[in-house]
Amino acid sequence: MSSRPRFSFPARLLLLLAGALALAVQAAPVRTERVEAELHAERAAADPGKPATVGLRLRMDEHWHTYWRNPGDSGLPTKIQWTLPEGWSAGPIQWPYPEAQRVGPLMNYGYSDEVMLLVDLTPPADARPGPVTIRADAAWLVCKDICIPEKATLELGFAVGGGEARSSSGSASRFAEARARLPAAPAGWDAQSVIAGNKLTLRVMPPAGSAAPAKAGFFPFRENFVDHPASQAFVRDGNGYRLEVKLVEPVASDVASVAGVFVAESSWPGLPGRKAIELAMPVVAALPAIAAPAGVPSGETGGSLALALAFALAGGVLLNLMPCVFPVLGIKVAGFVRHAHGESRALWMQGAVFSAGVLVSFLALAGLLLALRAGGTELGWGFQLQSPAFVTLLAALFLLMALNLFGVFEMGLFAQSMTSDLSAKGRYADAFLAGILATVVATPCTAPFMGAAVGFTLTQPAPVSLAVFAMLGAGMALPVLALSFFPKALRKLPRPGPWMETFKQVMAFPLFATVIWLAWVLGEQAGNDAVMAMLAGLLVLAVGAWIYGRWAHSESLARLVFAAAFAGAGLWLAWPGANAAPQGQARAETARAGEIDWQAWSPEKLSALRAAGTPVFVDFTAAWCVTCQVNKLVALNREEVVKAFADRGVVALKADWTNYDPRITAALAELGRNALPVYALYLPGQSPPRLLPEVLTVSLVLEALSGLPAPKTAAAANLAPR
């Protein structure tokens, strides 16, 4: 006789409870054609009368997206219908900030990859403790280039806790992440809007002590109001900003207030971890006049686009004189001389192809930088020099080029254009490659001298940036292009002869000089030992180059093998390894007599000093920034300036960006800059710092400090009262 064991009623109830709590905070995911949907609860149980947050997590297949509350030109926002126990109420969906998704001539606002929509559920105040089941019927539209309406029913085992509601593990971080993506509602922001015809202007001013982001985009809540695909013009206005947005016609006439979300490109100033804020802007009749952006000395705002382009062109022409570029150009021009005398074939074609090579390289570089920045990487111009590996590579490249010019070995570019008669095709390919090479070797030279201007350009909208870079390339190619158009001018130069060989070898010396400079930069970055390693490695590399050149006429494979072996060994030796001690942060700045006592910058130190009411001068600098070194020489290390700093009690902080430091990158972004040098003077009681121009003079610095209280000089103290 057997009897089945039966569970008593209390046991069954217990099992049920346990089961419910085990299901607890997550219902099983529901998989639709393109989306995986899950319902999560932040905590295992809710308190009666108090809201508890649940989240609908949608994970879209790659390239598919769902929509925001205002889906834009097409689409459908996600909807949730709740089936709750009696007395429970559900709040509205809390939408994370969206991304703008362009579809041809149209624009949608939505989410890709994954999104968690938060909703607050509140049990009634008289809810009895125990398990409950929550049901959500969610419906959404998921699109790639076609659209599929989908829905899912999700159930969540939940509970009303008698006392303290326990939080669940694992969910906490997910909910924290979702909350961080909600637009914040910070206090003290003053914003208005004005509608004129089909233009909406939004004016947003931060509260005292806060800053506005360098750039932000606007996502309106109201549908069919804003022309979604039209670009929005962002302009600084005093401490805040203005955004000009195009509206669809006919413009709605009943608008009393414009509400929406502003999304910055990185974290919103003053709100760490948050990228977006939500604002409601009442419509007013007129806005006050635009104020000059605070903290930027007048005349330094960059001028009009035409001025920027002219400056870029001039800068490009100047690049030709840099030790990096001059040799390449010199050789190219010398090559022209040969052709000008030798044949009447259209020389200008070669010049044009060379210029094309330069232009293409500049645009590619700019495009790459912009793409990286758009992807969220915090980069500044000259960033490439923050990598010891890159500096080493550049040094190796320049050494090889110099050895080539010396005649240690012959290779492609320079040899052919100066000696043999190539087919037209070969010459053009050679010219194009020369253009690319010229640009590559020019980049380390642009960073030191043009870093600030180029960095400023990168904060402009993409077409402006690309135009400025194109002008830079055009300027650099201009001399060669001009010469190629006027072979007569070339004929004025002496006929080809032995002088060309001398000229070629002389050009090697500026390249050696560049290698020395790069070695110094590496020393600042990675210490003396790294420089030793690099120089030793370069020596071995030189041996490899010599082998390649010495037996150039030999057909044997051994030559190549040995050359490659030495070159490889050299590079391996030179490569900054893990033992390369990053000197940047750890360097102890010993105050030398007669120089400003620089302390290491950190955001905490800055806040502490400002809170104490001390005037602070921050120098954002780097070893590879030549303008910074010049400013030190010319202004900051001068006796009068050092004295003024000491007398007025200004604390000097040095933010050293020789090596990559994300804190400095973020601090620069908050000041609206991304390239060096940057000099920020924080005066007590004033909120945004005063930014000094990139080129300093003694009088400029003294004038900036003059606002501070006059020093109590010894002479004054000794003045006997009359």
Partner: protein
């Protein structure tokens, strides 16, 4: 800096892709010439003096399917077919997976019992761009004098559920009835809903 902005905006618009013009209510409708399913030319000018309804169309879009599966669109086409010229326009470009050839479309239309006066094949997207058509279904009504009388959604329920058709207010019907009665169209312009038109 202020001078740079309009230029920058102009430059940016070049990168923004071809912008859409718009058929604004009260303005003359842009003329167009395209071909129909049989390959014959069809232009707006040939319907001068008549009321014309334009229906932007794409069977692959769930919003359009809502109106065809429920029989809503076909019913409208039949009801007003005698009084107005009902032009269904398809601006899907040939490379998109929603594209259907004229032969396939003829078959599909017959299968649904659809009866537009003419069906305009706008594969290059010129007609769509001229009207600023954004989504399917995007509805326009042009009055006999050639001016745009309605530009917007087909009804007031933005959804893909065919059951919603019964309970929604149809804007096209309302507009056509008002025009018949000689009254001005009360809701002449609103936000159309649907899937984006698959332009080139």
């Amino acid at each position: 800096m202020k001078r740079a902005l309009p230029l920058a905006a102009a430059l940016a618009s070049l990168f923004a892709g071809a912008a859409l013009a718009a058929a604004v209510v009260g303005q003359p409708a842009p003329d167009f010439t395209a071909t129909d399913l049989a390959g014959k030319p069809v232009s707006l000018a040939e319907f001068k003096g008549k009321t014309v309804v334009l229906e932007w169309h794409n069977f692959g879009c769930p919003f359009v399917q809502k109106h065809y599966k429920s029989g809503n669109m076909q019913a409208l086409q039949k009801k007003y077919g005698g009084e107005v010229v009902w032009l269904a326009v398809n601006s899907t470009h040939a490379g998109h997976q929603d594209y259907e050839s004229p032969a396939q479309l003829t078959k599909a239309l017959a299968g649904f019992g659809a009866a537009p006066t003419r069906f305009v094949m706008d594969e290059p997207g010129k007609v769509g761009h001229a009207f600023g058509a954004k989504v399917t279904p995007h509805m326009y009504i042009i009055d006999p004098s050639g001016k745009v009388a309605y530009n917007g959604a087909i009804d007031d329920k933005r959804s893909t559920d065919p059951a919603d058709v019964k309970t929604s207010k149809n804007y096209v019907v309302a507009a056509l009835e008002e025009m018949k009665a000689g009254k001005p169209v009360s809701n002449a312009s609103n936000a159309p809903y649907g899937c984006t038109i698959k332009y080139k």
